[in-house]
Symmetry: C2
Subunit: 354 residues, 2 copies
């Protein structure tokens, strides 16, 4: 049983090593030369007393910690953990620690975390904005002035600082073109919330592909969802009950696509025979669904890593103008897409159904 039940501070180390508190600090931080005998005594006292500096006191005094905060909108969406891993790996290698907060797609909660994390004088902050993010406004407060910060995956409205995103429009453009090339002419989309730039961009890529193919976009073929499975399911039911029913659906992300799959199953429609489906994100599970899910791949891990590197630059004082990194997407073709039923097939199907 150690005799040290009290918290051990620098004072006690100093006493035991017969040295001043300042010297202890210098040993701990290598902040000034300390002659060998003294240094040894200090080190020895530290290990024998089991001293660990109070990071709270240090952070308070230095007015800066070595923690980086990250706020994500939905920890249950497997895409975000991938991004987190990218951030974490880079930061950890650079001796920063990552603390993660889940805003739960609640802008209020996001704001609370922003404010409180800021109050802890983090080294930096990486934010994937929530759906209704007030990020730009919240961070406008002068308290945030010297907190390096990166906006990741989604551009918060009005955000002027660094950001890392993907070519959302290009992704859905490729996806939609792929469907067009297979012969689809009735292609619907289930978007994310249309005040999130991601969702808007993905919609625009879809629209561009159709426009280029001279196919008018039916307004009821554009359904606004919420980037989650349930809304995917609901919107899909709406779409699939339309007449004519679309032969292909572009989903705002893979969770939405999962919901679509559930809806298809419920209506006893086959995928891809009756309806083709393309998701967005390329989650690991896409290879295992039934059918396996064609999806627009985002480089989640690399997005995180890139954002972390950008943040490190800022922390180290770069004052380069705000960077907007935009990464590529890639269509991963799997089992959920195929050619549409021929006109004949479609007609017979239609008769049967009605």
């Amino acid at each position: 049983m150690k005799k040290t039940l009290q918290k051990v501070t620098m004072r006690q180390i100093a006493a035991k090593a017969a040295v001043s508190i300042g010297t202890v600090s210098h040993v701990v931080n290598n902040s000034a030369g300390v002659r060998e005998p003294a240094r040894r005594r200090v080190l020895q006292a530290i290990s024998s007393l089991g001293y660990q500096p109070s990071l709270l006191a240090r952070g308070f005094r230095r007015n800066k910690t070595t923690f980086v905060g990250m706020i994500i909108p939905d920890i249950l969406n497997p895409f975000f953990p991938q991004v987190v891993r990218g951030v974490e790996d880079v930061l950890y290698k650079n001796a920063y620690r990552l603390i993660l907060c889940n805003a739960d797609n609640d802008d209020k909660k996001e704001q609370v975390y922003l404010n409180e994390l800021c109050g802890y004088r983090l080294a930096g902050l990486i934010v994937i904005p929530s759906v209704d993010s007030q990020l730009t406004a919240t961070v406008g407060n002068s308290r945030f002035a010297d907190l390096p910060m990166i906006c990741l995956d989604r551009q918060a409205p009005g955000w002027k600082g660094d950001s890392v995103t993907v070519e959302n429009a290009e992704g859905t453009y490729q996806a939609t073109r792929h469907l067009l090339e297979l012969g689809h002419r009735s292609i619907a989309i289930i978007t994310g919330p249309l005040h999130v730039n991601n969702a808007i961009e993905r919609l625009s890529g879809y629209e561009r592909a159709l426009r280029e193919a001279s196919i008018p976009v039916a307004p009821e073929y554009i359904q606004e969802g919420r980037f989650d499975r349930l809304s995917g399911y609901e919107r899909a039911l709406t779409l699939l009950r339309l007449s004519p029913c679309p032969t292909a659906i572009v989903a705002g992300n893979d969770l939405v696509a999962l919901g679509v799959l559930a809806a298809l199953q419920e209506l006893a429609l086959r995928c891809p025979a009756d309806v083709s489906l393309i998701g967005f994100d390329d989650l690991e599970l896409d290879a295992f669904t039934n059918p396996s899910l064609t999806s627009v791949a985002q480089p989640g891990y690399h997005m995180g890593a890139r954002a972390a590197n950008l943040l490190l630059d800022r922390i180290n004082g770069t004052d380069a103008p705000a960077q907007h990194v935009v990464m590529r997407t890639l269509l991963k073709i799997r089992g959920s897409v195929g050619p549409p039923l021929t006109a004949f097939d479609a007609k017979s199907k239609h008769k049967l159904r009605r």
Copy 2:
């Protein structure tokens, strides 16, 4: 443009409100009566100057923060985020904030996070130990003496404090019995690392079921994996090349089961016709795999919530003896299990092999 580019502290509020610093503090914390006019002046100064207390300074002075830390072993395993949500909801309602750290199944990293989080004088800590966790030893240091802490999902070796776990053995026991009742006699298991109590318990449930059915357990039918998909895939390949090949596999968790599915596909074996499969965790995606995955459900969200409540009790000073909450599991039957091929079927299958 605000004129306050400098950080605004209590001192400035005090000055502007013509009041002492102590009074400001009392207003902010409701720690003593302050007469209406003064209180109003303070509040007014606070909002006009945009003051936000330095949580770092407060935490330092109070020697306690309102953050709770949580360390999880693998943020990419979708089971853990579920648990996190449970923890978070309870804590948030009680005005505590959750900060999450991902140990990445690296005991070294876990230790770093333990030590540094402790240095920030968190209100409490919830840990899902990593595979090789040194938790008990690390936390033995006196610094951790007054840090309430809960061990969640896995019992760290030697851990004596509060814990929340599930009936792992009962889970695999039920799973194995289900397979036995369907007629399976050659049942294999892919476990987690066998120094993790979860893995050991799950193995023991499997063994008990076989023992009760008087079926000898072939040692090569017990494969030790690592709770991840890749190891599930590798171990499954090993199992499926055995002769005789098992007709059913119990997987250590659902990620492992996903790996097994991949292996089955690669070997062109049908599930459940050729091999039945049961996972553990009941991830959301289980309903969407091909075939859908039978799994032992753990109440992830509720485990988290329970742990958070236990922690809150400790934070509030309960000195009840250490609690060990053990929650139930439930077999969720889906498409990946069926009766084994009969001897005849098996023979004809070889001939027919499409």
